[in-house]
Assembly symmetry: C2
Homo-oligomer: 307 residues x 2
DNA sequence: TTTTAATTTTGCTTATTAGACAAAATTAGC
DNA sequence: GCTAATTTTGTCTAATAAGCAAAATTAAAA
């Protein structure tokens, strides 16, 4: 027996005092109302209603039951409604995982605007360079440099992760400024270690990739330390532009070989990706965050994503 | 969709963290659980659970929904339980309607014992000689002299309503004591008016009924006034024995023609009846009251009832 | 990384149950 | 007693939950 349906029918009969009018408000024949209420009474072993053809009144226990049940039905409806509200309004905790450097350099400056735009969303940011799986960790969205994973997650290409060689003016004064990709080989290099080893310097000429890595002056998975070494003039660093953007503006870093095609990776799909689970029903808080980042970051790099 | 079932399934999955164990506790295949929960999610447009083959976790909104719904289910179960308790325990208001004289003379003296025996029953007694229909008035049981009605009510023959002629000793001294039914015709009579007119005096001899009504000294539908007239020696009164029982004991009334078959009615089914509705599910408070009256009143008059 | 095993989901059939509609039964009011 | 509004019952159809087996998924072990 569909007990909830029976309860709804019963309450409507109790409210209207009539099976017929209850039937009308549910657009079902009166016989359906009659049977469902009878079923309910049978399941409780009680007469909830005192029927007579003209007047339907509640029995003593029916009165009590009605007052309780109508409240319960109301509560349930409110719960359902709050779920629908949650589905339609961006709210709740939004857990974001990001690479440390990207988080610090790019993400944080944007978040204050996001927070004022969606005050009902509580941000929970964790920065880590460990590649966390969305399914393992309890995050709603993750931002990672690399390739689009083939998991069942949405991978939205946020922005290019183009690496450019930079160096401090002091280094260039001491060691000279490379005029050509191949000249990089004779320079000191500050190398970032990925899980697949130190990133090489790659130079593309005539559709050919060449390894033009310099002498390693330092290797680390800590971008911050490498940046400090670079600022101190210890060598040339291949770095995403966004990572050293403020220093390029102040002149503390100088971008080298602007027109050359240099990279740390041959794959054109290498970029910053925004990853999020693809549930059957997308939660608004995730959607608005995704839209927000697209709006803020994909203006200058309008390459589209890859489903 | 049986939403209540879906909610129960969902809550059990949330509690156990597994579709399989939820399925076991309901003794249904896991596929049923899966489908009901999916239906529920579809109807809400939300993912309530984050599934992975090994672990089933609640989503943010699922967490909220679960805490609310599990409380709602608990409330509903408690309401159902209270109905079952009501069905198994005598409790609640018991509305009793009785004839005035019977109520005062017979019923009231018994009720104190009933009240102590069933303290959870709140008695609501209304005395009236108007014949009220059970369906019209809001009474659980009615006590009426007369015949078993052919309505759809239980009519339990509580006790005989045998009428006996009584008179005060002062009257008998003044007018003589009748020795024979037919002698009543020459006496003064105190007649009770029923809705069908004044009750005649009937005398049965050789399977023949004879009207032996005396001269009406007074007619009233108020038994109390007639009794006072009788006590004052104004005439002979045909009355139910229970109505004058205390006066017979003190000698203020004398019963006449003990061995004769006298009545106010030819119908042997004329008696005091306990009437109560016959619902599909009999409420305990009514049952125990019926049993109580049978126990107290049918000891001396063990005629059985008539369904 | 590959394999294994526990678990969830899907496909399809059967059984149950709610709905639809007509007819019968009931009863308040004329 | 009759009428009209209402509830209940009978019977068929449609919707839906259960049951079972097979496929898909994935965390943990090898």
């Amino acid at each position: 027996m569909d007990q909830l349906l029976a309860l709804k029918y019963f309450c409507k009969v109790a409210e209207t005092g009539s099976f017929t009018s209850a039937a009308k408000s549910f657009s079902v024949p009166p016989s359906s109302i009659s049977r469902r209420v009878s079923d309910l009474e049978a399941s409780l072993g009680t007469n909830l209603l005192k029927r007579s053809t003209r007047v339907v009144k509640l029995s003593e226990i029916g009165e009590i039951y009605f007052s309780q049940v109508s409240d319960i039905l109301l509560q349930l409806e409110q719960s359902n409604e709050s779920v629908r509200l949650y589905q339609s309004t961006p709210m709740g905790q939004l857990k974001i995982s990001s690479q440390v450097s990207f988080g610090e350099q790019v993400l944080f400056p944007l978040l204050e605007e996001f927070r004022t735009r969606y005050p009902e969303i509580i941000l929970d940011i964790s920065l880590s360079d460990a590649l966390s799986s969305l399914s393992h960790d309890d995050v709603d969205v993750a931002i990672r440099g690399g390739y689009a994973p083939d998991e069942r997650v949405h991978a939205l290409r946020l922005m290019a992760n183009d690496f450019v060689p930079v160096a401090a003016p002091s280094y260039l004064r001491a060691s000279g400024t490379p005029e050509d990709g191949f000249q990089l080989r004779s320079h000191q290099g500050l190398f970032f270690r990925t899980p697949r080893g130190p990133s090489p310097w790659l130079y593309k000429q005539d559709d050919q990739w060449h390894d033009v890595s310099g002498h390693p002056a330092a290797i680390s998975n800590n971008a911050q330390w490498l940046k400090e070494l670079g600022l101190a003039g210890k060598g040339i660093m291949m770095t995403p532009k966004w990572f050293v953007d403020p220093f390029l503006k102040t002149g503390e870093f100088v971008e080298l070989l602007n027109d050359s095609v240099l990279s740390v990776n041959q794959d054109p799909d290498f970029a910053i990706y925004l990853l999020y689970q693809k549930p059957r029903y997308l939660v608004p808080k995730v959607k608005v965050f995704v839209d927000f980042l697209v709006e803020k970051l994909m203006r200058n790099d309008p390459k589209v994503n890859m489903g």
